[in-house]
Structure formats: C-alpha cells, structure tokens
C-alpha cells in the first residue's frame, strides 16, 4: 500500500506539472497582448512598451513560464492585470460559494442516484424501473443552464418562493440566507448530475444482483433487501467510487455554468470574467486551483477504492 501511495503521489505531481505547462501554453495561444489591459485608449508607444515590460509579455516564453511556475509552486498567484489586486484572496473568497455549491449539489445528486439507481436495478423488469431509466437518459441529455432557467422561472418568477440569483452580502454570517441562495443552484446541479450517476448505480447494482454471492445469501434465507444491505453495497460501491471521483470533478466544472445562470460570486463567474478580459493571472490562478482540486479528488478516490476493496490492494501492489 505504501509503495502504491508513493507511486500514486508521484503521478499526482507529474500531472500537476503537465497541467501547468498546458495552462500556460494554451493561454499564450490567444490573440492579443495581456499588456493591453493596462492601457487607456490614448496610450503612446512608450506607454505600451512600459506596460509590456511590466507584465513581462516582452520576455521569451520560456522565461515567462519559469518565472510563473516558480510563483505557482510557492502558491503566489500574482496580481490581476486588470484590477491590480492580488489573485489568491479573491480565489479563496470565491471558493466560499463554489465549494458548498459543488459539495451540496454532488451530495444531493448522490442521494437521488443511490435511491433511484438501486430502485431502477431492483425493478428493472417492472414499470418503475423503466421510468427511472428513462428519466436518467433524459437528464443526461438536458443542458445544465436550461434546468437552471426552468427552475428560476418556476420558483423565483412564478411562485416567488426563492431568489432568482445572487448571494447574501455577508456571505455565511447568516447561513439560512446563504443556503436559500444556494437552493436552486444546488438542485440544478443535482438534477443533472444525478442522471448519469443513477445509471452507474443501476449498472453496479445489477452486477451485484446477478452475482453468485448474493444468490448464496438469498439461498441462506436473506431477503433481497437484507442481501443487498449486507453484501451488495460494499461490492457495488467499488466501481461507483471511481466514477464518483470523476463526477465530483465534473460537478465543479458544471458549477461554472450554474454560477453564471444564478449570478453567484463563485470561481466560475470569476473565470468567465477573467477570460473575457484576458486577465491572465486570474485565469491561471483559477485553473491551477481547480486543476489541483480535480487531481486531489482523483487521488482520494483511488485511495478510498483500495480501502474499501482489499482485493484491489493485493492485486495492485502484487502486480505492479
């Protein structure tokens, strides 16, 4: 297990390095000069040159990368070209919205998916199993912003029951208001997310239901529910955990769209603004932080998977 942990960690670091290179190079492929952000419409050639020197866009790419990567490793995300304000505090402030949104949305999706997925599997030859599978198919096809718009129309504009968007000025000081603001966004994420998760849970449960050990348990006198409860969940959860890691990362990315629909001051909205303004330090800072999140989730999912299923531990450390 230790050897695996070390190898897995080395892989994490390598992925991060590759991600840094990709983020940096892709942004440099955009047309235009980041120095423009510092200039007014009356800028003289001298001022343009000075601005380029200030943001470093007059230096060779390799030198720009080395300097930037060095800063990133020390977690110095720099200052926005547009506002001149440091990036890190703003990213951290925005995480106050994005992390609860992502985590709550994901957990709600998980609850829906577990219930619906197991039910769809157990009742795969009944009418409700077909209906649930149908809904899951439909959910996968619906764009997330569309779900958001529909929910706003119903609950905010027609019923007036929930706000159409925004986040309280005092953040989490009044948790009730903050959660109210997040209700529709969380449901939006959960609706879309649970659709694909339901299919995984259903497939995993079907595997378990058809398995020899479950039949053995049933033969020993356990009811279907008892057999699933005692033997099925642990076995069924292994493939689901791997998927969950990926899905949690996807949820974070889905939050970008949801934040935009609901005008939430999260990382996603910050990213959209930063891209529109070519604010390289902000874009890079957000991408680095979210990449780190995605890699850590993947790392954690792998570890958890091995903790849940001893067979994986053996085979992996034995074979590699």
């Amino acid at each position: 297990m230790l050897a695996y942990l070390i190898r897995r960690f080395a892989f994490l670091v390598l992925s991060l390095v590759v991600a840094l290179v990709v983020i940096f190079v892709l942004l440099r492929l955009l047309p235009g000069d980041p120095a423009n952000a510092l200039l007014s419409v009356n800028a003289t050639p001298e001022q343009i040159a000075a601005a380029r020197a200030q943001v470093g866009s007059d230096r060779p790419l390799a030198e720009q990368f080395a300097r930037w990567a060095g800063d990133m490793v020390r977690f110095d995300l720099g200052e926005s070209y547009i506002s001149g304000l440091p990036v890190l505090p703003e990213v951290l402030a925005r995480l106050q919205v994005t992390v609860p949104l992502t985590v709550l949305g994901f957990l709600l999706a998980l609850v829906i998916a577990l219930v619906a997925g197991v039910a769809a599997a157990v009742g795969s030859d009944r009418w409700y199993g077909t209906v649930l599978s149908g809904f899951a198919q439909l959910g996968i096809a619906i764009p997330v912003f569309w779900v958001g718009i529909i929910l706003v129309w119903i609950f905010a504009l027609q019923l007036g029951a929930l706000p159409a968007g925004g986040f309280p000025r005092d953040d989490w000081e009044t948790p009730g208001e903050a959660l109210t603001a997040l209700t529709l966004p969380v449901i939006t994420i959960a609706v879309v997310m649970s659709a694909s998760l339901t299919r995984y849970v259903r497939a995993a449960t079907l595997d378990v239901v058809g398995s020899g050990y479950l039949r053995t348990a049933r033969a020993g006198g356990a009811s279907m529910a008892q057999a699933l409860w005692w033997h099925g969940l642990r076995n069924g959860s292994v493939p689901v955990i791997a998927i969950l890691g990926i899905e949690l990362s996807t949820t974070l990315l889905g939050a970008v769209v949801v934040e935009s629909v609901f005008t939430l001051p999260g990382l996603g909205n910050m990213l959209i603004d930063a891209i529109a303004q070519h604010d390289y330090p902000n874009i890079q800072g957000i991408l680095v932080v979210s990449t780190l999140f995605v890699l850590l989730v993947g790392f954690a999912a792998d570890i958890v998977q091995r903790l849940v299923d001893p067979r994986l531990r053996l085979s992996v450390s034995g074979n590699r």
């Binding site: 955009l30 047309p31 235009g32 000069d33 423009n36 510092l38 200039l39 007014s40 419409v41 009356n42 800028a43 001022q47 343009i48 926005s80 547009i82 506002s83 001149g84 304000l85 703003e90 402030a93 925005r94 709550l104 957990l107 709600l108 998980l110 609850v111 577990l114 718009i149 905010a156 504009l157 007036g160 029951a161 706000p163 159409a164 968007g165 925004g166 986040f167 000025r169 953040d171 009730g176 959660l179 109210t180 997040l182 209700t183 969380v186 449901i187 969940l233 959860s237 935009s260 629909v261 609901f262 005008t263 001051p265 999260g266 909205n269 910050m270 603004d273 303004q277 070519h278 849940v308």
Partner: protein
C-alpha cells in the same frame, strides 16, 4: 462508507428543506431609511479611476462617493460642486478656483487646495490609465497659494477646461490603497465591495451638502441581462441602470409595477473605415456605402422602438448637435451611382473587423446583406475586444471595423489625423483646434457645428445609430437619473416609497 453517505445526505436534505422558508428582499423600509438596490452589468475592476477601474467605478462612485470641482448634471450641464467660485484671466490662460471651506473627506481631513492639486496630478501621471489624461495636457502649472485657492496656468486657451474638470474626482492626498478603499467627499461612504457580487454605499451623516434621501445604496452586479431582469421581477433590485437587451423590455412595458425610461444616450454605433486605404480614401465610396445601408431598419431590428438615427458623431445632448440624418440618405440607386462615379461600378470587397460581443456580430451580418445589393462583398472577421485594441486601434491593421463610442463631446477625434480611423481633413483639424481655443462657448459651438456638418458631408465614418439609454425601475422608486451621461449614476436623490 454507507453510514457516512447517509449522514451527508441527511445534512444536505435538511439544509435544503430548512431553507425553503425565507426568501425575497429583506429591505422593506421606505423613505429616508430605505435601501436602494440597483442592478448593473458594469462591476468595477477596482475602485480607482486612474488605475483601470473601468466604467463601473464611475457609475458607482462618481458623485456618490467622490466629487469633482464641478459636476456634469444628468442633463449635460456643468455646475460648480466643490468649487465655490472661479475666475478666468482675460487671456484665458489662468483659472483661479476658490474651494468651499466647509468640506471634509470621509476620513475627517478637511478639503484643501493641495488635495485638488494631487488629484489632478494623479490623473495626468505617467502610469495613469485615465481616459481623460490627454484633456489636461494644456496644464502648465498648478499652484496652491492658500488652503482654499487653486491656480491653474494653461499653455493655451482651453474652453473645455471647466467641463473636463467635472470628470476629476477630488481625493484626499493622504489616502492610500485607492484600489480597494476610498476617501472622497461625497454623500455616501463605501461600506463594502464584495467582488463579483455587490458594492454597497452608506449615507454619510457629515456631508457638507444636502443629505442623501436614502440610507443605503447597493449595486448588484450581473454578467447577463436575463439574470438582471429576473432580479427586478423577483424584487431583489429596484432599478436597472442601463438595459442592454431590448427583447426583455416587453416584460416591463405596459406593466404598472415598472417604469421604462427612455433617456438620452451618448453611445454611437459606428462603421469606421480606415480612411487611409483604398477604396475608403475616396469620399464617394464612403458616401456610397453610407447610402446603401437602411439604418432605420437596422436600428429597429436591434432596438425596436428605442434609440435614434444620427447623421454624425454628435448626440443631441452635445451643444453642437444639428440634425444631419438626411446628408447621406438611404438610397440604393444613389449608392450605385456614387460607386460608378468613383470607378467601382462592379463593387469591391473588404474585410470588416467585428468585435465578438453584442450588437456587433448582428450589425455585421446586416451590413453584409445590405452592401451585397450594391455589389460590395463584406468578409466578416470576428475578433475579441483585446484583439480590436491591438489590431485596429494600435496597429491600424484593418479596412473597416464596427465599434461603439460612448462619450459625449467626442466629435473632436475627427480633428486628429492620427486617430485609428485616419480621417484627414485640414479644415476640420483647424476648426477643432480653434474651437478649443475659442473665447466664448458660442464661438466654440459655431466651430464644432461646422466640424459636425463637414464630417457628415465627407462620410468620414458611417454613424449607424445612437443607442438608447433605458433605465427600468420599479414604480415605487423615483429620483434616479435617466440619462446616465458618461456612465455616471447619481443615487442620492432616489426615494423608495
């Protein structure tokens, strides 16, 4: 694992149920205790108007938190504000301005002439990003003989000097960190700026003038018009400073709960040629293009019944406005004749650099189909704002482009042959220069009216239409500015019932 999941799920479910109860706006107080919630698409980048803060910083802070020596009213008039008196020497080169002696900054420091000097120096400084910077090139020196007197010496006459001063915030010279905090003299202090979300202002009890008629103003920032409209409908905001999507107006028109105000804008949508290049160096070609475009249809398709046609760079709020919409009439036959006369009977083709944001892509498609009727082929090249700045504005590497120009009194750009569009008419340059050095505003107005007519005759650019300035408000608020000239939005007179 299972237990953890169940626990987490329970918490999530409980949180969601718990929150279903409360909603809507909590600010129900009216009158002098009211909180005015304003929706805007223009969040400041930072809070400094010399450090690239952008249009949003003017909207939220100008006149509300910071004040100038003079103010530009919502009707376009210039009135004294922090200046108590001014005197101009006979040669027009020395302006002696006396300050009010009862003004304090929010920090408690009294306003002195030194603050005025340092505020103007901040605008003209080397690293200043103020768009107003070049307006003050004429200042030779600023002296502060005593605490309440500022003496400006100019290198040449500048009739717009007082008008230009109305843009300059007077900031405490001891203030630091202006990108995130403030020290102005206005009727509000900055309460909190929550980036990506809101900026709130609180009434300042020690204000030298009439106190604000509301207790608090909160600017709510949106990235798209739909969210903003939804916020107004669901009562989260009271006013939208500037509606950018006319499609949404139908929800508010004819509804007693809302008022749709059609104010005067200064934003012009331009088809700007590179007048240096063939065939656009030929006045006849430019006029032909102008006459080939049905501007009324264009305006109507984009703004419905709002906005207006203009025949030049001058909006009706500028003193030198005259109606020139018929100088280059929409007339396809005339356009064809002009093209033939210029030697392009079979038309030609050109590339139109089109910013990728609204309304430009739609306008470009419209122009393409209009110009096809007279044999001109338009190749649309969509670019980002950033690319526009480098390619078109700095490098002048373009044939024609679309752009909106927002400021009032900006016809004078046609007097600068080095400007990106390269319009070069010596007579116009002379008039613009003379106008700035005019002895009276009448003289200035007369000269700039001539400029106005001449650029229309020359079809220096195609001025497609003037944007509308649409403020939509809940019908229980009043006292808000409807014209929002130069993006300012004075909030102190707003009353909520």
């Amino acid at each position: 694992m299972k237990r953890q999941l169940t626990l987490a799920a329970t918490i999530a479910a409980a949180a969601l149920v718990l929150t279903g109860c409360s909603s809507g706006s909590a600010d129900d107080a009216g009158g002098a205790d009211a909180t005015i919630n304003i929706g805007s698409l223009y969040e400041p980048q930072n809070l400094s108007n010399t450090g690239g803060g952008g249009q949003g910083v003017t909207e939220a802070l100008s006149g509300n938190v910071y004040e100038g020596l003079y103010k530009l009213t919502d009707d376009g008039e210039v009135e004294p504000l922090l200046a108590a008196d001014d005197e101009v020497s006979d040669d027009g080169l020395t302006y002696t301005i006396t300050l009010r002696d009862d003004v304090e900054f929010h920090s408690g420091d009294p306003l002195t002439s030194v603050d005025v000097k340092s505020s103007i120096e901040a605008v003209t400084a080397e690293d200043s990003q103020s768009a107003r910077k070049s307006s003050f090139d004429v200042i030779e020196s600023i002296e502060t003989p005593d605490d309440t007197t500022v003496v400006f010496t100019l290198s040449q006459r500048s009739i717009s000097f007082i008008y230009n001063l109305s843009y300059i915030w007077i900031v405490n010279d001891a203030a630091t960190d202006l990108k995130t905090s403030e020290d102005g003299t206005g009727p509000y202090t900055l309460d909190e700026w929550k980036r990506g979300s809101t900026l709130s202002l609180t009434r300042w009890d020690d204000y030298w003038g009439d106190a604000a008629k509301n207790a608090e103003v909160v600017f709510h920032y949106y990235t798209d018009a739909t969210s903003q409209n939804n916020a107004l409908i669901s009562g989260q905001i009271d006013i939208i400073t500037s509606v950018q999507s006319p499609d949404a107006l139908s929800q508010f028109e004819g509804n007693d709960d809302y008022v749709v105000n059609n104010g005067s804008s200064t934003t012009k949508e331009l088809l700007a040629f590179n007048d240096r290049l063939e065939p656009f160096n030929d006045r006849l070609v430019r006029k032909a293009v102008y006459s080939a475009i049905d501007r009324e249809k264009l305006l109507n398709s984009i703004w419905g019944d709002y906005g207006q046609l203009i025949g030049s760079m001058v909006p009706p709020t500028d003193p030198w406005y005259v109606d020139l919409t018929d100088v280059n009439p929409y007339d396809v036959d005339l356009a064809k004749d002009l093209l033939a006369e210029a030697g392009y009977a079979d038309g030609f083709s050109f590339t139109l650099d089109t910013p990728n944001y609204d309304p430009h892509p739609a306008v470009a498609e419209f122009l393409k189909s209009e110009l096809a009727k007279v044999g001109i082929t338009v190749n649309i090249n969509v670019i980002t704002a950033d690319e526009w700045y480098t390619k078109v504005f700095q490098d002048r590497d373009f044939e024609a482009t679309l752009q909106e120009h927002v400021n009032d009194r900006d016809v004078v750009w046609y007097g600068n042959p080095d400007f990106y569009w390269g319009y070069d008419n010596a007579q116009v340059q002379k008039w613009v220069a003379e106008a700035e050095q005019a002895k009276t505003t009448d003289e200035q107005t007369e000269l700039l009216t001539k400029v106005n007519k001449q650029i229309a005759e020359d079809a220096a650019s195609v001025w497609l239409y003037l944007y509308p300035q649409i403020v939509v408000a809940s019908s229980d608020v009043s006292g808000y500015p409807v014209n929002g000239l130069n993006s300012q939005f004075y909030a102190y007179d707003i009353v909520k019932e």
